[in-house]
Symmetry: C2
Subunit: 329 residues, 2 copies
DNA sequence: CTGAAAGCGCTAACAA
DNA sequence: TTGTTAGCGCTTTCAG
């Protein structure tokens, strides 16, 4: 079952267990000669330190939990990947947790894992602010794609990004846009809407909101119908999944994209590049977002608790075929 | 830092620590009255069992590690999702590890995690058989998308699946196909090739192999050029990513799919449905694959060691626009 | 620089 | 049914 312990190594090397322990955790505190011998013996025996035992005493688990609101959304893959890579560099383990869009599940998972991890990465958390603060009181927390004044966070620049989106549509002659909103408890959804409204106001175009919709392809049908009903010439969907669903439904109804309706998404998932027409979407460095989040979490201890960092990463509007000049009626 | 322990709960409830322990781990062995009292006190104190301490003694970590050869491949998402869901049902934690297509990284991660998990899910492992057996000697292992005689595994039925693919192409009039192979150290790649060859022989069409290629969109260009050079009328790509890359390159070179060349992929990733033309691909229940793998891992202890289960899940050929009748020359 | 010994939080015999 | 008592494997004072 379990392999050799420091006792076995200590016995075989003719030293005390504490020396073996030091040889691994604080190599500087042991003479080079004994350290080499211990390491050699350990290797021969196939000794591996037991992370649990180590964590029990030290309180350091070398593990961070990443809680994702819906693991089925390709958008998170890049974030997960970036987080995983950064964690590995520091020899940290990434624990992946799926909240399935349920605040209750999310909360339970966090509570269960809390004593076993060094901190939490909360990606697009659906928890109310209140709960977020409670979690942060227990463990270091980094919010991803969500902001809260007293907590560390990493987000893409939605203000600037939404401005780019609206500006792009306006430059194509659209005087009006419809936002197909994301889930009600999604911070991103309300934030995007606010940013779109502001940008629309500044630029001088109209903005309406329809929804909320679950941001999945299958919801695109209903969203598209609602948009058509609202006589939209330009729709901005909460994310690429929804946007793709919208485009499918529009095609089904014989409406052309972008001639009849322009469509914009968010996230720039892989599928946005291969669908027809290609989806114009607001992308960003999601891998960096994951990377940065872990970075912030690992360095959380070495910062003042007040005024936590709130990183904002740049976005980029990726122009593809789904947006075009407005039809001259 | 750390919360209340069983000592705190025991003191507050006026019982021994072992009773508290039992109240949580074996509720049956404690009188209902005391159990209720303990649970109440624990809740009030905000007590949470420490998984590390628990694991240290019991040797049960309630954690399974899933090692994925390349987390960037959307194909794994469904598997991960299925695994995550099944693990959660049993209150197990899923530890996600990315091997980045590197056998060395994969091996190191496994060794590091070995003392801290109950078992490994190895998805499309790039490790040589030899190493796989070593891992299995330490911990329960379930192979995903890979088989090895003495180990438990879950795979899609590539034999039947490849037969469907070849049969489909043959029925469209193709007399010859080209397989764009996956990575050299991928078990899937060689297995698919073998299955394709066999099916081709049975059905009476020719089969050639080109490659290997890294199964990414970016490699599709080179793969497409090689296929064109080989005067292929039908290409079967190692996976959808590669297939999509191939289609992009073909379009760039002015070749039409499927009129000039038919293209088939594997995995049925989301993008296969939205690209143009839609990609004909061999899909399967990847979520079930993930689910089943965890299931097998959790029940590993209750089975005879010899003759481990080797589950084969059905595939389904998803017909889309990328395959068509062969051009009459 | 190294050893002895205590103990992290919990579970598992063994008693009572 | 409940309490007592050893540890699980490791780190960490405190001596030497």
């Amino acid at each position: 079952m379990s392999g050799p312990t420091i006792y076995d190594v200590a016995a075989a090397a003719g030293v005390a267990t504490s020396t073996v322990s030091r040889a691994f955790s604080q190599p500087g505190r042991v003479s080079a000669a004994t350290r080499d011998r211990i390491v050699a013996v350990a290797a021969e025996l196939g000794y591996r330190p037991n992370p649990h035992a180590r964590a029990l005493l030290s309180g350091k688990h070398h593990t961070v939990a990443m809680v994702v609101s819906d693991i089925a959304n390709p958008h998170y893959f890049e974030m997960i990947r970036g987080a995983e890579m950064r964690a590995r560099v520091s020899e940290y383990t990434l624990l992946l947790v799926n909240a399935e869009e349920s605040p209750r599940v999310e909360w339970e998972q966090i509570q269960r894992l809390s004593p076993a991890v060094d901190g939490f990465l909360l990606a697009a958390s659906r928890l109310p602010d209140e709960n977020l603060r409670q979690v942060a009181a227990q463990r270091p927390v980094v919010l991803m794609s969500r902001e809260l004044p007293d907590l560390t966070s990493v987000v893409l620049d939605h203000v600037e990004g939404c401005h780019q989106v609206v500006s792009h549509l306006a430059s194509l002659g659209h005087r009006d846009l419809v936002y197909l909103a994301g889930p009600r408890n999604s911070w991103m959804a309300s934030t995007r809407w606010a940013a779109l409204q502001r940008a629309a106001e500044q630029i001088g175009v109209g903005a309406r909101r329809i929804g909320p919709f679950t941001p999945k392809v299958t919801q695109g049908g209903a969203a598209a119908d609602a948009a058509v009903n609202a006589r939209a010439t330009a729709v901005v969907a909460h994310n690429d999944l929804l946007a793709i669903g919208v485009m499918q439904r529009l095609a089904q109804r014989g409406l052309r994209v972008p001639e009849d309706v322009s469509v914009v998404g968010f996230d720039n998932i892989f599928a946005a590049d291969v669908c027809t027409p290609g989806l114009t979407t607001l992308g960003g460095a999601h891998t960096d977002l994951g990377r940065t989040a872990v970075e912030l979490l690992l360095t959380a201890g070495s910062r003042a608790a007040d005024d936590p960092p709130r990183v904002v990463l740049p976005t980029e509007l990726v122009l593809r075929g789904s947006t075009g000049t407005v039809a001259t009626a």
